[in-house]
Structure formats: C-alpha cells, structure tokens
Amino acid sequence: MNEKTRNEHDNGELLRIEDLYVEYVSGGAVSKAVNGLNLTLSRGEALGLVGESGAGKTTTALSILQLLPDHVGYIRKGDILFHGESMLKKKEKELDEIRGKKIGMVFANPLTSLNPVFTVGHQIAMGLKKHHKLTDKQAEEEAAKLLEMVGIARYRLNDYPHQFSGGMRQRVGIAAALSCNPELLIADEPTTALDVTIQAQILEIMKDLEQKYNMALIMITHNLGIVAELCQKVAIMYAGEIVEYGTVQEVFEHPAHWYTYGMLHAIPKLTGPREPLEPIPGTVANSQMLPGGCKFHTRCRHCTVQCEKEIPKLMKINDDHYAACFSGVGVKKED
C-alpha cells in the first residue's frame, strides 16, 4: 500500500478487530474462546482488556499477532486490521516484519517466556538484528541501553535468565518487546506472576515508557487497579466477547453491564465503613458449552427472558461508553 492510500485510511485508527471468532480444537472438543469480538484502538491509546481467566484475553492477543498454536487454534470468522490491512491475509514473511517491529508483546509468565539457554542480551538483541539490520556489536550496545532503561545494569547483558529474579526477568521481557519501538505493545498480564511490590515497579516502568514512546498499549489484566493506573479506555471481556467498552472513568463510575457492576463490587474498599463483598455467583461460562443468548445470563441476577434468547450487541450509551446488556443501563440510575 502506498503512502496516499494509507493516509486515506488514516483517521488515527491503528488496530481494528471485526467480529472475531476463535476456536481451539483438541481431541474432538471445541472450545469457543473468542465469540464475535469487536475492538478499535487508536494510535498512542492505552486500552485495558479486562476479564476473568478464560475470557479469551490472551487468545485475542495471540490472534492479533497470528500466533495461535498450530493445528489447535483457528480463527473461524472476522478480521483483524492493523493500519487498515488484514493480518489474516498476510504471508508469514510479512507477518514476521510486523511482529516485534510494529507490534511488541510482553508475556504473562516471565519464568517461562525467556529462553533458558540464551543470554538475556541475545534475546533483547534478536529483534534488533532482524528488524533494524544491526551488527552484533551495535545490537549489543542497543540491548545494553534497553537493559539500563528498565533498570538493570548493563554488565548483566551476558547473564542467563536463571540468574535473574522474576521481576527482573519481566523487565527483560519488556525491554525485548520494546527493542524496536513498536507502535503497539500488547502486555499480557505482565504482573500476574509477580509479587505486589514488584508489580508496582513493573507498572511504574510501563507508565514511563508509555509516555516516552507514545505507543499504543493493550493491557491485558484482571486487575482493575492496573487499568485505572495505566489506561484511558477499558474493554470488559466475558466468554470471548466484549460486554462493555468505554473510557476508564465512564465505565468504572457508571458500569452499564451487570458483569462489570459485579466485578467492581467484588473489590474490597480500603477506606470507609466495611461492607460485605458481593461476589459474582457461579463460574466463568464453559467455552465448550456456551449458553445461548447473553452468555452472562446464567450468572446474572437481572436476567430477563430476552437475555436468555437474544445475544445483546454493544449499544451506545454515550460517545465514551458502550455496553452489551438488555437490562443493565438501569444500573446507572440505581447507583
């Protein structure tokens, strides 16, 4: 695509996911991980993708990079447009030019996401050598700078992952993901495997870098506090769909989906009188046997006949807020 046609597409939109369906097939069982997901992300925008374990967050991330496990994960329907171009239609070679260079990814578990038999320097530098065609020496120098940027001394460049703590390894993972200045960083629960004090460090680093590089961020998490800290927009996922979407302030202050409402009320408050927490009853919908209608209806206290029959679409509440709930808008008034 030449510059002119690209500019026509250029309305600040970086990534658009259209009606995405992803399935995992193993041993005859089919898990519907993502079911009709729609999402748009602008340049430099930070989006929090929130949901329980099994909501399809990681699957969405891997779909964007076209890295679903071979012969197991399949995109059944929909499209993923990056800069207006379909990621699904790209050849492996073209994808390799996007992965790491334009889209970086930080993985959930720093203990398993670094290769144990290569030095951290090598792993940070591999993207640089591939995408920026740097020599070994230049790449090493760059890697050292990146390491310092995430707060690790440069002399540790030739150490192996096992010589680092979990928090440091995650910083290495972040340095590697950022090595080529990506336009989009996907951070898949980057703090879940770390303890609380280290979480704060990692978030601090991510916040700094987000401002410094002006990149777009998809922050996958089930921690609403992280979203409030880092993101402007938030998308709430349930059973492979986005059930609520909007600015962080709007969604957190005026939740319009009963699932979001439930999540926000399941968080203990540190100040004020103690109130009993309201858990969301039941467990996450089984992706191999999804209920019909609204997938949350089996756990919803406000379920109607319509909820059991029809699948709610994302409906506009105002310019900054969308929700897919037939009975939920009333939450706003009640609250």
Partner: protein
C-alpha cells in the same frame, strides 16, 4: 574454566575408583562360573598331573587374592595379561580385533546419531504429518525388534534372496552395510522418539511463542532457538550411547561373524580365557565411564543452568 578443569579432575579420579570396582567384580564373577581353564588348555586326554601342571604355569594355583593383585600390578604397568588360548599377550590379541569393532560400532553410532536427530526434528516440527507418523512407526518398530531378528532378516533379504550383500565376514564397504545398520538400529529408533518428543515439548514453550512474537521466522526459531533446548536430553543420550558402543556390537559381531572384540569375547568366555575376558570387560567399562563423563561435560556446555559445582 578453572572450575571446569577442577571438576574434570575430580570426575576422572572418581572414575578410577569405579574402574577398580569393575576389576574386582569382573575378576570374581568369571571365577564363580564353572569350568576349569587349566583342564581346557590341557585338552580332553590330559591326565590330572598334566592339568595340575597347566594350573601352575597359568598361575591359577595361587590364592585368589594373590592372583588379583598380580593382575592389578600388571594392569598399572600397562600389562593386560596373557591369553593362553591365543598364546600371546592380551594386548596383541586386542590390537588385532579392536579396529574392526571400532569401525563397526562407530558406523552404527554415527548413522544412528545423525539419522535420529534429523528425523526427530522433522517429525517434531511437523507434528501429525506423514513424516511424524513414519518416525513414530520406526521408533516403535525399532524398539520392539531384537537385533538378532533384524540381523537374520537383513541376511535373508539382502544376502540370500537378492544376493546384494555378503552375508558375513569382514572385507570391503559392502561387508559393513548390514552389520552397521544393525548396530545403530535400536539406538536410532529410541533416539528418534526422544528427539521428536523433546522438540514437540520445546515448540510449545512460552519462550518459543515469545521468539516468534519478536519477528523471528519459524525456521530460525525452530532450528536455532528451539533446537538448542530440545538437544539437552539428546546430548546425554548420545553420551550414554557412546559408552554402550562395544556392548552393542557383541550380538551383531556374532551374527555376521565379524572379527571384532564382541566376537572375541564370546569365544574367550567359552574357553575360560580369564585374562582376555577381564580386559575386554574393562575396556568396555572404560568406554561407559568415559561416555557418561562426556555426557556430563557436554551438558554443561549446552545448558548454562547446569553449573559444574
């Protein structure tokens, strides 16, 4: 580096003790079996006096403990003893047989190593494909089939029916094909399976997805970043295989009448040629100990997590 040298020295010293242990066991075991070497040497028509005469000449009249220390004293001087059956020093007997055995077992070792690694990688990176199926079929077949049966099968097909290859003996390269194939067959099969499953495991690791997410192509990811991890169990296995080289050739040499040490050992046991048997077993023990040491050291080279201390 200093640690490495220190470690090697320590391991070598330990190996010496292991080998001394081996000499004791071998020395005792062969004498526990029935049969009298003096009677065998003297022949069927010998009188008891003649047999006694042989016993004294062979030093077998002395107490066992004295015999053992005489043997060990010789060993430390580099003297492997004397073969009464061949009427020459054990060293000379072995010198004539060793090259053939080395040729045979190294052939088996080389082809099985190369073949299993290549086949295993292809199968592991193409899980569920035809190649993968073929690899698994080969692995099951190779592990289930005994070398003896395979040897006779090969002889029947390529020797007797097709007249393509000589059925026994030593000579040109055509003599090496069937025994060499037999020698590495079991190893190739089990190692193919190991390589495949190791590759499959590694490919599904997070760090491989992470590597791909950095834009590294599938090919480079598999051949560089996954392979190095997948090789870890293979390296140990190769070390062990190297140690078992001689052991494997015993059966094969006897099937194909290959003039090597395996063949020699069976004859030596049958004729109660004590010192020859002791030496052959000692040599294969040395190989085994050395193979394990090799595996250990290679491991520290390919896996930075294994520290030598």
């Amino acid at each position: 580096m200093k640690n490495q040298r220190q470690h090697i020295r320590k391991r070598l010293l330990a190996s010496v003790f292991v080998l001394i242990g081996v000499t004791i066991v071998v020395f005792a075991l062969i004498r526990l079996g029935n049969g009298d070497p003096a009677a065998m040497m003297a022949g069927d028509l010998a009188t008891p006096e003649e047999i006694e005469d042989y016993r004294i000449r062979m030093g077998l009249d002395k107490p066992l403990i004295v015999q053992y220390f005489t043997y060990m004293a010789g060993l430390f001087k580099g003297d492997l003893g004397y073969s009464y059956v061949y009427s020459m020093p054990v060293r000379d007997v072995l010198a004539k047989r060793m090259p053939q055995t080395l040729m045979l077992s190294l052939t088996g070792f080389a082809w099985s190593t190369v073949f299993s690694i290549v086949f295993g990688i292809v199968a592991g990176t193409h899980q569920g494909s035809g190649v993968d199926f073929a690899a698994m079929f080969f692995a099951v077949l190779g592990q289930a089939m005994s070398t003896v049966w395979l040897g006779f099968l090969l002889i029947l097909i390529f020797g007797v029916k097709l007249h393509l290859l000589p059925i026994q003996g030593f000579g040109g390269i055509e003599h090496l094909i069937m025994p060499g194939l037999c020698c590495g067959f079991g190893q190739a099969a089990s190692q193919t399976r190991l390589m495949r499953s190791s590759m499959v495991d590694v490919i599904h690791e997070d760090y491989i997805t992470a590597t791909r997410a950095r834009g590294i192509s599938r090919k480079v990811t598999n051949m560089k970043y996954a392979l190095r991890n997948a090789m870890l169990p293979i390296v140990t296995n190769i070390g062990f295989a190297f140690g078992k080289l001689f052991a494997g050739s015993i059966v094969v040499e006897n099937i194909f009448n290959w003039p090597g040490m395996g063949n020699l050992m069976v004859q030596a046991i049958n004729s109660r040629d004590y010192q020859l048997v002791q030496s052959i077993l000692l040599i294969s023990s040395v190989m085994l100990v050395f193979g394990n040491l090799l595996a250990d050291l290679l491991y520290t080279v390919v896996d930075p997590r294994i520290s030598l201390n």
